[in-house]
Subunit: 456 residues, 2 copies
Amino acid sequence: MNKEIPYKIYLEENELPRQWYNVRADMKNKPAPLLNPATLKPMTFEELRPVFCDELIRQELDDTTPYIDIPQEILDFYKMYRPSPLVRAYCLEKKLDTPAHIYYKFEGNNTSGSHKLNSAIAQAYYAKKQGLKGVTTETGAGQWGTALSMACAYLDLDCQVYMVKCSYEQKPFRREVMRTYGAKVTPSPSDTTQVGRKILAEHPGTSGSLGCAISEAVEAAAHQEGYRYVLGSVLNQVLLHQTIIGLETKTALDKYGIVPDMIIGCAGGGSNLGGLISPFMGEKLRGERDYRFIAVEPASCPSFTRGKFAYDYCDTGMVCPLAKMYTLGSGFIPSPSHAGGLRYHGMSSVLSQLYHDGLMEAVSVEQTSVFQAAEEFARVEGILPAPESSHAIKVAIDEALKCKETGEAKTIVFGLTGTGYFDMYAYEKFNNGEMTDYIPTDEDLKPGFAGLPHVE
Amino acid sequence: MNKEIPYKIYLEENELPRQWYNVRADMKNKPAPLLNPATLKPMTFEELRPVFCDELIRQELDDTTPYIDIPQEILDFYKMYRPSPLVRAYCLEKKLDTPAHIYYKFEGNNTSGSHKLNSAIAQAYYAKKQGLKGVTTETGAGQWGTALSMACAYLDLDCQVYMVKCSYEQKPFRREVMRTYGAKVTPSPSDTTQVGRKILAEHPGTSGSLGCAISEAVEAAAHQEGYRYVLGSVLNQVLLHQTIIGLETKTALDKYGIVPDMIIGCAGGGSNLGGLISPFMGEKLRGERDYRFIAVEPASCPSFTRGKFAYDYCDTGMVCPLAKMYTLGSGFIPSPSHAGGLRYHGMSSVLSQLYHDGLMEAVSVEQTSVFQAAEEFARVEGILPAPESSHAIKVAIDEALKCKETGEAKTIVFGLTGTGYFDMYAYEKFNNGEMTDYIPTDEDLKPGFAGLPHVE
């Protein structure tokens, strides 16, 4: 296996994965089930049907089938923008003067600018196959809404996006991309839903939150004939679809006989990180090989590192099922100084369980250092990274610099989830030296925790 | 050669071109030389040295060497984002229900968002090799300035960009990308140059133009020790570097035994079009094979289709050499309703000569129809195209629809030069139904023509 390793490892079309991998099948401690907030009993298939598509519910509840076939229509769509490249960061290594070998899996080479498209096309496909008219969703920074708009345009499916109001206003370009793909975009909270009107009445000046937009989108789906709600992260089904990232990464590494020592990903709801690490975590769970897995989250929204492992509401309006996860409480909203995504109060139940069982690590980083890493990376590797992705860059650089000290030639793989084209407000702040850091005090976290439901 | 054709044809790293192709070597009628505006004699190497880098002047003046080696350092940089994919537009073909086979060479998969990086790295490299401190340039829509900033950051070279004032104000995000890569960005006209101050005095409220920004950048280069001026289009050297596009395209097509009937590209200054068609044009010039070549330009800036083939100034301040080209006159400025780039008054001398000799065709299209094509393309092919690139899409769709009428399975290749992330103002206008078309009357064109210098 001494082939020279190219800058970018691309797979051939016939090397593309044809199945998603369901890591839950290999977990001894399964993630806790979603609970019905009224009965506190596990949500059944029938209870979930008014909100989610049938096939997606099956995937959500299935914690035993290890591999699930990717339908041909989804494979065809994947071929339009996949495989994504696994890049050897030769230039970054040289700049850092590190003996470490650094690789990144780049998911930004599609118009949505991120990995979100991997699950968007799957969810839209199952909705279409069920004969639905359309889907509703929420979007914060806008990557998920863009991805879903693209998938729906391709399948000729109606797409209604509730966009967090401050993003709607501060990111008009994101909104226009979605509109170009034919989506209807509504700033949230809005007066188009009961829960939106209620929130507006209670907080007239609110600029919205992800939890609130979720509540509106769920209500909108439930109240329209032929519509269902879809979500871009957190859920088991989303992690499942995102395993295309990890499966491609593993195939590319295997092709050149490369074995990573550690795999690093940013974590908001967990979809990218879960998708990237799943196939490797499977090996670890089955006792075949050991890896370090590092989740990186913002210090200003530290679900893993400072959250509680508990059942919590997934949304502000409390219309969704309860999920057991590392959470800051559904009432937690990151400081306005927090730029970019990774601002969800909770975390994937799958990743939460794995973290709880000591199978992965988590660190939190402050945003000024994240933008420093982003700029350093951009200047040598060319790609302008999304602020979210740059959390992973920061820790990859830190680890590579540790190797420089110890002289170890470790192999580091990280997920570069997307591009920062729509985040130039944040870059501008950084360029002007106006960016600030914020770490919530224990006192700041108390109200969120106080709002946790009392569930064993 | 009956391999099934994949969605995307990627070349292996060892299939990447290692030489640029200089189409002038195969032209019987060579493009007319640059003239010294004072003497009206061909510019010599020595006369060009205060403004341009030595090696680039050699490339500019060399119309006999057919292949020029690409230095290893440039090849290494190319590997970071090249090869670019040649995509079979299966989804667009299906949507149009056409028997035509459509391919596009996609140059948008790098942070500059366009093909401009191919020449930016070459020019920055030769500047660095000459021991210079930095380079100056102008940018309009901002693709070139971004590309040059990236190349200079990589090589640790100072980069000063004069950005057309209206773009500087309307595209703050473009500006911030350049700043993130360490460039100094000045709105033009500015008071940092003599020519800028002169233009400001004569037209105090001006929002600037490309021709004016060129004048400022040239002056800035000439007045700083260790600086030279670089340009993103029009020049022979730029076309040369951009042949990497056409060479990769040809290698990819040859791999699958595909022979295009026509090759379509948008044309502003001509760099993308020239780079794409050069290797194919070479075959045509040598009598080996015939192809149709179609240049597509905006109806609002119709250099090829309504311009004069004459010597003209390259810039507003008339500090540059004269070039013989299809031109609307250096005083021509497109209507403010014109969105996006492709707004240069002239055209590459190489392409002008080829067009004049009947070796290629040109058509002009109106922008509303261009955005319609862009939207149609985006919804089925995923990629959100730049307005410039969408000119080529429009004509590719037109040609594919002609095939539908005649039942011919022609093979169409077009250049998709970049992405539209920074053009959402224009898309917003289109989405809101507020976009208008503008075709200059013959009367409108008169003042530009009146300003042409009197040179035989």
